[in-house]
Symmetry: C2
Subunit: 213 residues, 2 copies
């Protein structure tokens, strides 16, 4: 009754195995980077045989590309679900800043995967076809939001949506991806609940002041 779709838990389930491999791979790649990740570890954590990884995903690098694509798809889909049109421009932008922060905070693997991909000069993302459609939606969302803010008289004119997107990402991403070195340099636990709250407020302030007319 509770699980109508998967009536019989098949002993052999290609789809489920692939899902387990992808999930394990995301964790392993995020933890150790592409180079440091071990295929054997992925197989073990997926409760699958290593042979299966090469059966479903050609190679370690092809698997990494798939994990990366899935990660971008996930964040871009979550952004689209925000439905910022229902809010006035200022509230919408603040919602977006808070969302971005929370997404990074609850999906730290995303940060590490992106870092790893940049270490490899984005060679895997280059091969991907799904990426462009996703990010175009994000830019046009920000474009509309900025235009609306100008019309409402609360945002100044002429702000580049790409620069703003990058900045919103940057102020959250940098803090969180460098949380370990940051905590040592500044001699405080940057991941303490109060510290996180403080940073999010600071980020909202930064963006609001940046766009305000």
């Amino acid at each position: 009754m509770a699980t109508p779709a998967k009536a019989k838990p098949r002993l052999r389930d290609a789809e489920a195995t692939q899902k387990r491999i992808l999930e394990a791979a995301k964790k392993e790649f995020a933890k150790n980077g592409l180079g440091g990740a071990r295929v054997d570890v992925i197989a073990e954590r997926a409760a699958a045989n290593k042979r299966m990884i090469y059966h479903y995903f050609e190679s370690k690098e092809a698997l990494f590309q798939r994990v990366l694509e899935d990660a971008y798809t996930d964040i871009r889909q979550a952004e689209q679900k925000l439905e910022l049109d229902h809010l006035d421009a200022r509230a919408a932008l603040e919602t977006f800043v808070r969302f971005t922060w929370k997404y990074y905070l609850s999906n730290p693997e995303f940060l590490t995967l992106v870092n790893s991909e940049n270490l490899h000069k984005a060679k895997h993302l280059k091969k991907s076809n799904v990426i462009h459609v996703l990010s175009r939606r994000l830019v046009s969302m920000m474009e509309k939001l900025l235009k609306r803010g100008v019309e409402e008289g609360v945002f100044r004119d002429g702000i580049d949506p790409v620069q703003l997107n990058i900045t919103v990402a940057a102020i959250g991403y940098y803090y969180l991806t460098n949380r370990f070195t940051g905590s040592i340099l500044y001699e405080q636990n940057l991941m303490a609940p109060e510290a996180l709250e403080k940073r999010l407020d600071f980020n909202v302030e930064t963006i609001m002041r940046l766009v305000s007319s």
Copy 2:
């Protein structure tokens, strides 16, 4: 006359060999991360024997720690050389923002080394002793600058110097470390001279608006 210190270019020069190893290691670690870096490659690029690396620097990880310490020392020293006290608060802060950007731009290895260290949860930086002194100087520099700005009546009161430091770093660091994925996502070359200039101006604007009274 031109080189008074090193009269005879010795065939065997411990100091010079160590320097060559450190320089080669910085490049290799920055290019491939700690895990992806190859000790043999470092030895070859340093025109030294691999045994020398273990003679001077115990292990691969100890060498990485040393490279990382040197990198932090270099940027902190460069910051101190700015002598921001000679400028009014607004000019001083703008100078600092522009310096930070230019430093990252001309020392991209720094970004990758820090990323790599965070992938390893800052385990090497934890062992370091020189780091704290360096970063305390940076925070107090920003503290003084903010205080001066308030006294001049150009900055608002109550800005956390650590948050500001993190933000100045973030808006430059993120753009540059993610230049490869960014160029694909936004379908433009983020490293084109005009794009770089545009970003730096945007960053100055972001910080100035953030602190303005």
